[in-house]
């Protein structure tokens, strides 16, 4: 392990008393207040934009949100006093803006007609999302309270690995009526509740990969043959990566979910790279992914159709293709509407409540980014992407700073998968890469994603707490040791 920043290296040897690093909880509180203020203003502006008057219930909504965030802050003070002060405010701001946008879409109704609800959006969608936020914060507090040290998790490496795989596999095994929403077979639907187990599997598998790789990294880093200047791993060590690849392909086949499979495979390859520092693993992973994607696009019509929609979104045949009567058909209507929305917003945006994001199907979930692009403009959307970028950067920073290899791998992996998830969905809805329906962390409507995202932040904060916690002061020093001489 090389390359520690000087700040966290060995403490300087000096006679001066070591300055106590500050927890910066007050900074966190201040920024949290700012985040809540931004959310409150956004909420008020939605009402002004839609009806010319401040949204009703602005006080109740914002007070509720503020109390939740305050609870989270107090929990951090109690359970992780040394954690990074930026993560919680960032998560709060993103979560709050998501609720505001869902409220805005719920209020404008289907096709901009408030009396006519969007079929996928209930009249109380914003309240529901606020309830999910509460559950997310509860989860956040629980994770911080229960997992006081990352080492606790390491003990459950294989248990969590099995749990993660099981969570992934359940939707594939369930009948379609209990697992499929709009063609994506990634749900568990029980008694009106919809859970997306993949969101939690992501966390469990990250823990599993971290535990597994910490144990095996020496073997995996062993060089085999050298080829084109790259040290290839030994053939027998390829097993785990092939298994991960196979598992992600299986998700793709049985759950028709390219996004999730890319996410899992990316997570694994990223973590194996952190563990071994071998570029060859990245290369192998990348080639396997490309091969798998190519294979999938030729073997499965729905994957190939996504490529077609990506390359020619505006072709009439793609915009209005009908999956009910045509094979090889993924309509690009939604994608096109999202792009229209973003271009309609232009550089400065239409302002909250002044745009028409309701034309884009599922603007409250997969396509929520385009709704923000439309109403907050290029400037607002860039700021939001930077919020995500900062969150990733803070996570990576914690990974670099922490000493424990398991925590290091876990934080690196979780930060990476967050970045990957944002890239896959934002890149998808802006036609940078083929569109695959995964949630936008913190923003999208839905409980599973929100709770899992809060748990992810809790884990990152746990790691950063460990990283920033000052080393325990020695109780004795040499000078006080008395030498007892035998008389």
């Amino acid at each position: 392990m090389t390359g520690y920043p000087a700040a966290v290296g060995a403490p300087p040897v000096s006679a001066e008393p070591v300055p106590m690093p500050r927890g910066r909880r007050r900074t966190e509180l201040l920024m949290l207040a700012f985040a809540v203020l931004v959310v409150a203003l956004a909420y008020a502006f939605v009402g002004l934009g839609l009806n010319g008057k401040v949204s009703p219930g602005v006080l109740e909504y914002c007070l509720g949100f503020a109390v939740l965030m305050l609870l989270a802050h107090l929990a951090v003070r109690r359970f992780a006093p040394w954690a990074d002060p930026l993560m919680l405010p960032l998560a709060a701001l993103l979560n709050g803006l998501g609720v505001v946008m869902i409220y805005r879409l719920q209020e404008s109704g289907r096709n901009g007609n408030p009396g006519n609800m969007i079929s996928t959006l209930s009249a109380s969608a914003a309240v529901t999302q606020l309830v999910w936020t509460a559950l997310g914060v509860v989860g956040f507090i629980l994770v911080l309270a229960v997992i006081r040290e990352t080492r606790v998790l390491q003990r459950y490496t294989y248990t969590l690995g099995a749990a993660g795989l099981a969570l992934l596999a359940i939707p594939a095994l369930l009948p379609t009526s209990m697992s499929s929403i709009q063609g994506a077979k990634v749900w568990i639907i029980v008694g009106g509740f919809e859970i997306q187990p993949g969101e939690f599997a992501k966390l469990a598998l990250a823990v599993f990969f971290a535990g597994y790789l910490v144990a095996k990294r020496d073997v995996l880093a062993l060089a085999g043959r050298r080829f084109l200047g790259i040290d290839l791993p030994r053939a027998r060590d390829l097993g785990p990566v092939l298994i991960a690849w196979g598992a992600s392909l299986l998700i793709l086949v049985f759950e028709t979910d390219i996004g999730q499979s890319a996410l899992f495979f990316g997570l694994f390859v990223g973590m194996i790279y952190i563990a071994t520092q071998r570029t060859s693993w990245l290369l192998i992973g990348f080639l396997l992914f490309l091969g798998g994607a190519y294979l999938a696009s030729t073997l499965f019509s729905h994957v190939g159709a996504r490529f077609t929609a990506w390359l020619h979104p505006f072709a009439a045949a793609n915009v209005f293709c009908n999956p009910a009567t045509q094979t090889h058909c993924v309509p690009s209507y939604q994608l096109v509407q999202g792009l229209y929305g973003m271009s309609f917003g232009g550089i400065f945006g239409t302002g909250l409540g002044h745009g028409q994001p309701f034309w884009t199907p599922l603007a409250q979930s997969d396509f929520i980014i385009t709704a923000f692009g439309e109403e907050l403009g290029l400037t607002g959307l860039m700021a939001m992407l930077l919020l995500f970028g900062l969150l990733v950067q803070r996570g990576m920073r914690a990974a670099v700073a922490v000493k424990d290899p398991f925590a290091k791998l876990l934080a690196g992996g979780l930060s990476f998968v967050l970045a990957l998830q944002v890239f896959v969905i934002v890149g998808g809805v802006t036609d940078l890469i083929p569109l695959t329906g995964i949630t936008t962390p913190f923003l999208s409507q839905g409980g599973s994603s929100l709770i899992a995202s809060w748990a992810l932040i809790a884990l990152l904060m746990r790691v950063s707490d460990a990283a920033r916690k000052p080393a325990p002061q020695p109780i004795q020093d040499e000078g006080m040791t008395q030498v007892v001489r035998a008389g």
Partner: protein, 492 residues
């Protein structure tokens, strides 16, 4: 492991940079072109929320509004398109309906709707100062006098289908562009989808094809008016020295397979070897058929092209159908081509261009409709500069052809003497009639064609007229051209 984490962080940074670059591309750079896509419901909804720019006809020096936006009655702040003169300017303005646009409304949509990049600075200022967004005003070269006269003349011509195009020969500015029968664009300006569907169903199923812009999108055989091109080719290639050079004009011209070409009504052409100028004013088919064979199909095609034929890319800025004159190799077909029959097909605009090129001393100016575009703050963002399209003939040849065209109306035996002579028209008109045979074995009535310019000595206007099934060109088409010229030049 830290080195790997740092590298992975850089990779994440790259991912975010890609995302940022891409949304810049979508929201800043591609936004104008996305706004123009027909399926863009947002822009579509917005288009009635602000005042679209007006279209004005400025060809007479005034500013006659021919399309404007007005607040719809009871539409709380939505605007509706209004065309004060309705069908008169329909082939020019086109319509602006909820679902589609045609004509200038479509071709100049960016300017009229204010999405043109040249208007962006102005829009930004409006945005900051809180002023409502406005579209730019598009000024056309159309002369209301000429346009009205042309429309009236066609509409009172016994219900024949036809088209008139008038051009200022020295600039290429289009002064009149009329197609008849036509539609009323006000019917398309309705904000009701059901009403619009009824209107478009009615217009599309009308057998008289009111939506067809005959001036630009329909082609007709030019008939004898093509003899202008044949003569130009003959003078330019020195196969005929001048207007008074005699050319053979047999009573019948054998063209192979036992077929013969004859003159109209089997008339005799002068003394059988008349000067070309006489063959021209009499419009002898045998003389020009024989001349065409002598010139060859390739040369005829070459000069036709120089006059603007066979050009599928002409935009004024409305797209213009290509006029067609093929390269004939067979002498029989070449003879027919030389007298504007058989495969020759030209638009009414092309008819006007034949005369305009001769009138402008052999230089054909690019025909255009848009004179200028003014931003809402009245600053000029576009002003048309006349540009030559081609130089089909030299000034000498142009003056020779002019001399012949003058005789068509001035010589008592000229084909248009009865309808377009100087004492009737009040101005000296140089022109050429055409009577194109139509249908299988000429079962249908002939198409009447007249192309001309005036005043002959100092041309200000060139006119092309085609009246479908109008019969003899001089009788049906020439009077319409005379009325347009008189209105434009304020004669009588």
């Amino acid at each position: 492991m830290n080195r790997a984490i740092l590298r992975l962080s850089l990779f994440c940074l790259a991912l975010f940079v890609l995302l940022l670059a891409n949304i810049n591309w979508v929201q800043a750079f591609k936004a104008p072109s996305l706004a123009d896509k027909p399926g863009n419901i947002r822009v579509f909804d917005q288009q009635f929320q602000y005042k679209r720019g007006s279209i004005v006809a400025a060809g007479d020096g005034g500013n006659t509004q021919i399309a404007e936006s007005r607040l719809a009655k009871g539409g709380n702040g939505t605007y509706q398109r209004y065309y004060p003169a309705g069908p008169v300017y329909a082939p020019v303005t086109g319509y602006d309906s909820v679902y589609s646009k045609t004509g200038i409304e479509q071709a100049e949509n960016k300017e009229l709707s204010g999405t043109d990049p040249r208007l962006e600075v102005h829009n930004l200022i409006s945005l900051i100062t809180g002023k409502p967004k406005l579209g730019a005003t598009v000024s056309l070269t159309i002369s209301p006098r000429a346009q009205q006269a042309a429309y009236q003349a066609l509409a009172t011509d016994g219900g024949h289908q036809g088209a008139v195009v008038a051009i200022d020969p020295s600039t290429g500015a289009i002064l009149a562009l009329v197609s008849y029968p036509t539609f009323n664009p006000n019917a398309y300006a309705t904000l009701s989808g059901t009403k619009l569907n009824q209107v478009s169903k009615r217009e599309e199923s009308d057998p008289t094809q009111p939506l067809l812009n005959r001036a630009l999108d329909a082609t007709f055989p030019p008939g004898s008016s093509f003899k202008i091109v044949t003569s130009s080719a003959a003078f330019s290639t020195r196969k005929v020295a001048g207007p008074n050079t005699p050319i053979p004009a047999p009573n019948t011209l054998p063209i192979g397979n036992g077929h013969v070409l004859v003159n109209d009504n089997n008339e005799i052409c002068g003394n059988g070897n008349p000067p070309i100028i006489q063959a021209f004013w009499l419009s002898c088919n045998t003389a020009f058929g024989k001349l065409g064979i002598k010139l060859s199909g390739a040369v005829l095609r070459q000069y036709a092209d120089a006059f603007g034929v066979n050009n599928p890319n002409l935009k004024i800025p409305l797209p213009v159908a290509a006029s067609v004159v093929p390269t004939e190799t067979d002498p029989a077909f070449t003879a027919f081509t030389a007298i504007g029959q058989f495969d020759d097909q030209v638009t009414p605009l092309q008819e006007a261009m034949f005369s305009a090129a001769i009138a402008n001393g052999g230089t054909l100016m690019t025909p255009h409709l848009v004179q200028s575009v003014q931003a809402p703050d009245l600053s000029m963002i576009l002003s048309a500069t006349p540009t030559p399209l081609s130089h089909p003939v030299t000034p000498t040849v142009a003056s020779d052809v002019t001399q012949m065209m003058e005789q068509v109306t001035e010589n008592q035996a000229g084909t248009a003497f009865a309808t377009a002579n100087p004492s009737i028209a009040g101005v000296q008109i140089a022109g050429k009639t055409g009577t194109a045979q139509n249908g299988v074995n000429n079962t249908q009535l002939d198409d009447a064609v007249f192309t001309c310019f005036a005043p002959a000595a100092n041309p200000k206007i060139a006119v092309g007229v085609i009246v479908k099934g109008g019969g003899f060109g001089a009788a049906a088409a020439a009077p319409i051209a005379v009325k347009v010229i008189q209105a434009y030049l304020k004669v009588k």
